[in-house]
Point group: D2
């Protein structure tokens, strides 16, 4: 079963560059919007990690830009959990023009687990193992 | 004696809006650049406050936009400390086009003192009183 | 009759500063969110101005910060049109904590009318005069 | 011969997240700072492209985060041109902690050439071919 969340966002005037299109760096925020919506839907928020003594920084990110988004457009963000046997959290993102359903940008992120002393966790932390079982990922 | 600092900043492509001019909200960062440069020059950094058990949030800010700044322009930020008998920190800012010396934007900020429990300090904290004496402000 | 719009926004992780609260500069975006929602509701979008040969830059902005907003909070933005006999557009903003209804921040903006040659318009442009009549603002 | 540029940047307070480290999305701006510094040094600015009837949007970007950067740190950005036989512009980036010389983040970007009608150019545009010859890239 795929775990995924769909969320929507409007383009802000201040996110549009002199060429009239969304500046490429703002897509990092849209992916964060998607990841946060996923966290809310599947109980995997920053706070849930934090309560388990963990922080989950991003260590790797890539983006592929296929189409432009303009001021006034709305976007749809589909965030999909990608399972890994490693002590990592992987997400794929698809960002669509909400009106035309065109695929605008794809991306992915990799997060790792640090404890509160900022030590990298090489094994999957119990809290995340339980989360996987809860959602029947194995 | 006026305490003031002059610093410079470049305009980033991503700070320019579809009209080809710097989006008005980015000036808040330029004022922060000025305030930080002031803090470095006059030993009044966030860390100095923090080490004295204080945080100094902004409670009031205003900006007046007089001229446009375009992509490729550089700016000069003049940050001036404005003394007050109250338990507050006031700064005035003048942002110039570095090439033409035109005054582009003026602004001001007011900060207050909170202790680490986030309680507002109604009296000037000792650390800031000493700072004033150090710079012969009274 | 008061013309006002209410809109909602979530706080992004990247909008929260090291003190755990929303950085003061991000409220400029929330006010823009409010102004855009107003424009959509009352047909006063950037595009409407642009189609009439006008751009409406902000020349004055102020903010007053009363309470903190934290990561995970949601905000409610109330944007109110303030009529003026001058060739200006004035808005007042009230930003509330959506959960507690506490007033967090207030602000105001002033915009002027420029034609496409960037000449300041000293008289109210016909397009905006019609808009006022349409909404029975004397 | 490697074409590369070294530039420096300070970390802004507003770029630091609640964990006390630079939010991962801000590195996109640091890479842009590097690319712009490169453009100034080697006559390859957005304006140079624009004057030749070209825009050069980013179509691919990746980042690898190795170390944290904190508020108060300074960074050094090394931007290196990577030649390609295709009608593309490739850059590699290395971001260092300026004080410790630790490698903090690496990244790369790919840009393509569009003409002013936003048509993708499949052959290397004359202006860029000349630029390559000027810098003796094969």
């Amino acid at each position: 079963m795929d775990l995924e969340t769909t969320t929507h966002s409007n383009i802000r005037f201040c996110e549009v560059d002199p060429l009239g299109i969304v500046w490429h760096g703002h897509y990092v925020k849209y992916m964060e919007d998607g990841r946060e919506a996923f966290g809310k839907e599947y109980n995997l928020k920053y706070q849930d990690f934090y309560d388990a003594g963990l922080i989950v920084p991003i260590v790797k990110m890539d983006l592929n830009y296929k189409k432009e988004i303009k001021y006034g457009d709305s976007i749809k963000i589909v965030t999909r959990y990608v399972d890994s046997p490693a002590a990592k959290i992987l997400f794929d993102y698809q960002i669509f023009n909400a009106a035309t359903e065109e695929l605008v940008t794809t991306g992915s992120t990799t997060q790792v687990f640090l404890d509160k002393k900022r030590q990298l966790q090489l094994a999957i932390p119990p809290m995340f193992g339980e989360w996987k079982r809860r959602w029947k990922i194995n």
